[in-house]
């Protein structure tokens, strides 16, 4: 009998505790190292009295998997990339935003108010945008060598230990671009060629395998890797602390340009707090502090005056027009997502 009471007692503490906290808590599911994880939540709490709980992921697919496995009613804010938005909308995993609760929406740049995947900001509000590129150690690889993706894919070249990025669309896309195909190709022959290229590349003994963007960046910083495919902001963050030895470049064959947005899952426990968060992020000064921290580019026009001059002039953060021409938005493939996923499973399992 006593044991039963003990069990009940513990159960009620565990579940009771969570029930009480729900009102004043905001659960954010976001890419790792995308904001100052220690201070930003505290600032939000100071401004609104709502406690923030962070959960992190390394790729859109990981986030989708979690949502589909039940996360849709456990998080208040998610930060998906542009190409995955149609899937989210189609599967009814996110809810429309209540613009009356987001007066700061006016701060977004015009381009980001009418995106192709969500015109009128019905479901999403831009968070940050950026690119994918190659981060490398200047003390191990010369600047001249990294101007092409060949440094990674050409077996003749020896970049030292390197990491590929563990993200299906970005990695496959880069392989496709290198082979001269379209970033968003769904031709089985082309996908097979790209998958085979990845298989050959990862089999080389200098390849450290597939890592999340943040993992790869940390490897380069620690010296365990000489090069890694990473998101630009992560790289610039690290370079800021060690400009002599670290560098970032978008190789000439091109790469991906992406836009991450804030969305609210369909069954979010606290959509009110979620709207407050979105509005708070859109505040020019807050947005500027976010952008200055993570060194990505912001869609928030009103924040521009508050940004670091160095970042504004850094082509790694704000690409030049020439680089822009080589950057491609990832497209949602609808039912053709399947062949892309199979190519990826093939690349990883061989």
């Amino acid at each position: 009998m006593k044991k039963l009471f003990l069990v009940w007692g513990i159960l009620s503490i565990v579940f009771g505790g969570t029930a009480f906290g729900a009102e004043k808590e905001l659960k954010i599911f976001i890419w790792s190292e995308y904001m100052d994880e220690e201070n930003m939540p505290k600032e939000f709490e100071n401004a609104t009295g709502i406690k923030v709980r962070l959960d992190l992921y390394e790729s859109n697919e990981e986030m989708m998997a979690k949502l589909q496995a039940g996360g849709v009613s456990q998080y208040d804010i998610i930060v998906p990339s542009d190409y995955i938005m149609p899937s989210l909308i189609n599967l009814k995993l996110i809810q429309p935003l209540d613009h009356s609760k987001i007066p700061n929406l006016k701060n977004l740049g015009a381009k980001f108010k009418e995106t192709s995947f969500d015109p009128g900001n019905k479901y999403a509000v831009g968070w940050q945008w950026g690119t994918v590129g190659l981060m490398y150690r200047k003390d191990r690889i010369r600047d001249a060598d990294v101007q092409s993706w060949a440094i990674i894919f050409d077996p003749e070249k020896d970049p030292g230990p390197f990491a590929l990025i563990d993200s299906v669309r970005e990695m496959m896309g880069i392989a496709l671009l290198y082979l001269g195909y379209d970033f968003n190709s769904i031709e089985p022959k082309e996908l097979k060629a790209a998958a085979d290229l990845l298989i050959q590349t990862k089999k080389r003994n200098t390849c450290l395998g597939f890592k999340g963007g943040v993992g790869g960046k940390n490897d380069v910083v620690a010296g365990a890797a000489a090069a890694a495919i990473v998101y630009n902001g992560d790289a610039i963050q690290a370079i800021a602390e060690d400009p002599k030895n670290l560098g970032f470049v978008v190789p000439k064959e091109g790469s991906e340009i992406w836009l991450d947005s804030m969305c609210i899952p369909a069954e979010a426990p606290n959509p009110d707090a979620a709207h407050k968060w979105i509005n708070w992020i859109l505040d020019p000064k807050v947005n500027a502090s976010l952008t200055n921290y993570n060194h990505f580019a912001t869609p928030n026009e009103a924040a521009m005056p508050y940004l670091d001059k160095e970042d504004l002039e850094n082509p790694g953060v704000w690409p030049t027009p020439e680089i822009m021409k080589t950057l491609v938005f990832t497209k949602d493939l609808g039912k053709d997502n399947r062949i892309m996923d199979e190519a990826w499973t093939r690349a990883k399992s061989h």
């Binding site: 044991k3 003990l6 069990v7 513990i10 159960l11 565990v14 579940f15 969570t18 659960k27 599911f29 790792s32 190292e33 709980r53 959960d55 992190l56 390394e58 979690k66 496995a69 039940g70 996360g71 009613s73 456990q74 998080y75 890592k211 999340g212 943040v214 993992g215 940390n218 490897d219 910083v221 620690a222 010296g223």
Partner: protein, 262 residues
Amino acid sequence: MRKSHPLIIAVAMFTLGFLYLPLVAVAVFSVNATRYGLVWRGFTLDWYLKLCQNEFILNAAWNTLVLAVVSTVAATILGTVLAIGMDRFPWGRKANTSLDLVLHIPVVIPDIILAAALVVAFGLLRVVSSLFEPGLLNMIIGHITFQISFVALVVRSRLVSIGRDVEEVARDLFASTPYVLRRVTIPLLLPGIVAGAMLAFTLSLDDFVISFFTAGPESVTLPLFIFAAVRRGVTPQIHALSTLVVLITVILIVGMERFTRK
């Protein structure tokens, strides 16, 4: 007592060294005063201090503990009753073998299959009731499921070794069933029950795969936390956390040994 061939001693020592090399390495680097790289830069307890301030880690430790305690208590009760039910009653041969089979399933199959089955089952149950969101409840259910088998097996072997005599004597002395249970069977069984419970507890603390597949945002446990952190890049704070976990394990084991030796 035989004298061992020197080669055997050498191999045995090598094997033990091999087993401990990883743990020692972690302990050594948990006090290394450098954030990146492995060059020795001096002794420091900084990382341990930072640990205590890290809310995520404290939260994960709490979850791990709650999960282990709740699931162990439930599994011990269910498993003990199950073992008594299986051994102390005259079931036919067929019934016995099929019961035995079901009981052995969680023990012998790779736990990833069990985890996959649970994910799928919870996914369907979620449609019926929102109680089955990934989270602590799912994890507890998953843990209990494999713990029951281990507890039942341990208790059953103890039941077998107790034999029939004492209970028969009790019956001869006109004891009623509840009395026999309460005053004869359970007390005799206690060492087995405790052993089973301890086994279940350690299995839960150590579990990674089942937890990985059933965890929700707020129910991160220590093994899950360490795994996620390691994939992003190992930091000395993780080494400090790991060393602490190893130390706690050692204390638990030594405590267990003392307890069972009595």
